[in-house]
Assembly symmetry: C2
Homo-oligomer: 144 residues x 2
């Protein structure tokens, strides 16, 4: 049974066991769902990345956000190379069970370019304009 569809008319405060909901998540053909990270206090949308079931479970278990890296084909513990970790504040699933929304506390820049967030290419009429200062250069972010 799809727990998302089955429970969508239930009232505020209604609960379902987490395991049942996890079993109903609609992962795509690669076994992934998109996960949106939002800074919990400023409510800035920081980035979007992907999670498989293992990444989702690890994130919930450890309270540190873990994605699936499609390029590296492995778990991606956010901040493992840059030091810029995401502490999990809360996690929600959407009505269809195919998207995750993370409320996080982001240390420093979330973006690999050293900017706070990834959405720095803003459309302005017939141009796209960079909006977002580099806080830490990529060389400094990824040096060991």
């Amino acid at each position: 049974m799809n727990q998302f569809k089955a429970n969508e008319r239930k009232p505020q405060g209604f609960t379902v066991p987490l395991e049942e909901m996890l079993g109903s998540i609609k992962f795509n053909e690669q076994g992934l769902v998109p996960a949106i990270a939002q800074q919990h206090d400023t409510r800035e949308v920081l980035m979007m990345a992907w999670m498989n079931l293992d990444a989702l479970k690890e994130t919930l278990a450890t309270g540190q956000v873990c994605y699936w890296s499609r390029s590296r084909k492995g778990l991606w513990r956010k901040g493992e190379s840059s030091g810029q970790v995401q502490k999990l504040i809360s996690l929600a699933l959407d009505c269809d069970g195919d998207t995750v929304l993370l409320q996080v506390d982001q240390t420093g820049p979330a973006c690999h370019t050293g900017r706070r967030h990834c959405f720095f290419y803003e459309v302005a009429e017939d141009q796209v304009q960079i909006q977002g200062e580099v806080l830490i250069s990529p060389e400094d972010l990824y040096k060991k």
Copy 2:
């Protein structure tokens, strides 16, 4: 040339023609990119849906958000059946050119369940709890 990669180190305020950026967007195998809709003033994340290039261009041209419906396999002018439209305030692309962030002004509920937003399944320990009141019943939302 990938305009996203090519321009990621440019300073705040730097501009690139929109057409060149649109040509570098990384659509998936179905020709789609995820699009996150955020209410521009409260900064609530309302929903995540998908856009193809036509939907993205129509959204920019009309100022009314248009997605691609994967179930109906057609353009989905948000609110066309429910009346709950999304007015576009601004649109940004991410560092990799594979995700869209929309700042919108949402009329009424964004979710097909009649709730303001789609992320009403919140994880609370080993349970998932419904957080979000139904503002308009689905029967009233979709009646003609």
